[in-house]
Subunit: 312 residues, 2 copies
C-alpha cells in the first residue's frame, strides 16, 4: 500500500497536554494558543474536555475557552466527553464534535473511569442520543489499544468488538489511543489491519505517546498501512502517569516536520506551529520535549563563523 | 525488500557522547562502562578516539581505557583516528579496528578538520598504509552525509565519490553520519540506494542523530532498505554543536527496544543496557534523553494500586 499524500493532524495539547499540568493555565492564554493553532492551519483541535471540573480543574473553563475561539475558519473544535452530563454541556456549548473514550482493558477502564467496558459502552448510547438530537458528530476513542500497563497486550478482537459497538452507535470516527506508550510498529500494523475490516469507510485515527522513544516510528507504521489521522501535542506537552520523567504525547511540530519531509501534506504552517510551541514552553514554564522547535527546519542554515564544531 | 532479521548495533557513547562533556570522566569509569557494554553483548564499541589530546582532552586516556577493557569476548573495539599520527598511536595500542572520518561537504570539512575533501582523502591513504602494515581494518565515516548545516542538502554523487575512494583504499566498512540531524526518511532511502550500487559487499552503516526527533524514523527507513549496521549512544548521550538544547545521537536502548519489538535480533541484553544507561546518567550527572531507561520494557507491568491514572 502506498503511503498517504495527505494527512489530518489533530492537535490535542490544549486537552491532553494541559490537563496534566499542576498549575491552572489562565483561560485567555488557552484561547490565545487555540486561536494561534487555528491561524496556523491546524484542521482539528481537541481544545478541552467536559469532564467534571472537580476531577480535572485545569479544564473547568471549557465553555469559556470555546466562546473565545475563532469559529470562522472551519477548524473542527472537538472536546472530550465522559458521560451524558458532559454531553449535555457540550451540546449547550455548541462544540463541532465530541469524543467519548474508554479503555479496551477492563482493569484500566475500571481504574480510569470506574466502569466495566460494558458499562462504558451502555453509557455511550445515551451520549449518542443526546448528540444525535443536537446534530453533533461523535468520535470514539479506545484507550490502552496497544497495551495495558496492568494487563499487558490487549487482544485485537477486544478492539474489534468495541469498534463494532462504536459503529453501531453511529460514531463518525474511531481513534486508537496508546495511553501509556506501549505501541510498537508490529502492534500498529496488526491492530490497523484488524480494524480496517470492521470499520469500512469510518476514519481511523492513531494517538501515540513517545514514552519509549518510538512514537514517530509508530506513525511510520501507520502511514505504511495508509492511516491518515494522527493526534499530537504542541511542544510534546503531556506526560505518563506511570513514569514521571518520561515523555507523553508525540510532538506536533516533530510529527508535521516528518510528514512534510516525507512529502505528505498537512495544510499546516510549520513555522507558525514552531512559534506556538515556543509560546507553550513559556506558558508552561519549563523545557518541553519537542525537538524541531529547538533545532529549526532543514532550510535554517548556519553561517560558518557561528559555530565551534565537534570533531567526528 | 524484506527488513533484516539481524542487526549489528555499534555503541558510540564512549566516544561520540563523552567527547562533548564539559568535565573529564575518570578513566576507571570509562573502563567500567565499556566492560559493562561488552558484558551486555554489544558486538562493536567505538570506545574512544586517537585525536589530539589538546583538541579533545576528554579522550586523552584512549590507550589506558583500551588496556583496562575485556578483550576476551570478541567485541570489536573500534577507535576514531583523524590522521597518520593517530593511526600510529592506534596501531601501537592494538585496537581491533579504526574509523577515519571526513565531511562530505567542503565547508563542514574545512570547519571541522581544516582540510579540503581532497586533502582528507589523500591523508587517509597514508593512514590506510599504516593500518595495512599493522593488519588492522579501517572503516570510513562520511559526516554531513544527509545535509550540511552551512550548505544544505549534500549531493548523493558526492557521497558516491567519497565511498568509491574509501573502497579503492581497501576500507572494510563505510558509515554515513547524520552529523547535525538533517536526515529524513526520503534522504536515507535515496542515499542508501545510491551507495548500494557502489559498495557491493562492503557493509554500510548508518549513524543518526535525534536533533529533530526523527532519528529512529530514519532507522526504520534504513531497515526498509535492508541496512544492518546502526550507531547509537547509551542514554542518548551527546549533543549538537548547533543547537545547545537539542538531542544528539539516537539512544541505544531505545534503538534496541525498537529492533527487538520488530523481531530483529541484536544479541544484546536490553535489561543490562538499560542499567548501563542509568549508570551513565549518574556518571554524567544530569538527565539524559533516553526513554526506555525511564519507562521500562513492555513486560514491566504495574500493580493497579500504584498509580493515579489521568482521565482520557
Amino acid at each position: 500500500m502506498a503511503i498517504p499524500t495527505k494527512v489530518e493532524v489533530t492537535e490535542v495539547g490544549p486537552r491532553d497536554g494541559i490537563q496534566a499540568e499542576p498549575n491552572f493555565i489562565p483561560t485567555e492564554e488557552k484561547i490565545r494558543l487555540v486561536n494561534a493553532l487555528i491561524d496556523a492551519g491546524v484542521p482539528r483541535i481537541e481544545f478541552s474536555s467536559f469532564v467534571s471540573p472537580r476531577a480535572v480543574p485545569q479544564l473547568a473553563d471549557v465553555a469559556e475557552v470555546l466562546k473565545g475561539v475563532d469559529r470562522t475558519k472551519g477548524t473542527v473544535l472537538s472536546a472530550l466527553v465522559p458521560n451524558a452530563r458532559g454531553a449535555i454541556r457540550a451540546a449547550e456549548a455548541g462544540v463541532d464534535e465530541i469524543i467519548v473514550f474508554m479503555s479496551a482493558s477492563e482493569s484500566h477502564n475500571l481504574k480510569n473511569v470506574n466502569r466495566t467496558v460494558e458499562e462504558s459502552l451502555v453509557g455511550f448510547e445515551e451520549v449518542a442520543r443526546i448528540m444525535g438530537d443536537a446534530g453533533i458528530p461523535v468520535h470514539g476513542a479506545i484507550a490502552t489499544a496497544f497495551g495495558c500497563p496492568f494487563e499487558g497486550e490487549v487482544p485485537v478482537e477486544q478492539l474489534g468488538r468495541i469498534a463494532q459497538r462504536y459503529i453501531d452507535m453511529g460514531f463518525q470516527g474511531i481513534g486508537l489511543g496508546d495511553t501509556t506508550g506501549m505501541a510498537t510498529p508490529p502492534r500498529v500494523t496488526k491492530n490497523v489491519r484488524h480494524l480496517r475490516g470492521i470499520m469500512g469507510e469510518v476514519p481511523l485515527g492513531l494517538h501515540f505517546h513517545n514514552t519509549r522513544g518510538i512514537g514517530l516510528c509508530n506513525v511510520m507504521a501507520g502511514l505504511d498501512e495508509g492511516v491518515t489521522h494522527y493526534d499530537a501535542s504542541f511542544a510534546g506537552l503531556g506526560g505518563c502517569p506511570f513514569v514521571p520523567k518520561a515523555s507523553g504525547n508525540i510532538c506536533t511540530e516533530d510529527l508535521v516536520f516528518l510528514l512534510h519531509e516525507m512529502g505528505i501534506e498537512t495544510g499546516i504552517d510549520l513555522r507558525k506551529l514552531m512559534s506556538i510551541a515556543n509560546e507553550v514552553e513559556q506558558v508552561i514554564g519549563r523545557d518541553l520535549p519537542g525537538q524541531v522547535m529547538k533545532a529549526g527546519l532543514l532550510s535554517d542554515l548556519h553561517p560558518m563563523e557561528d559555530v565551534k564544531t565537534a570533531v567526528g
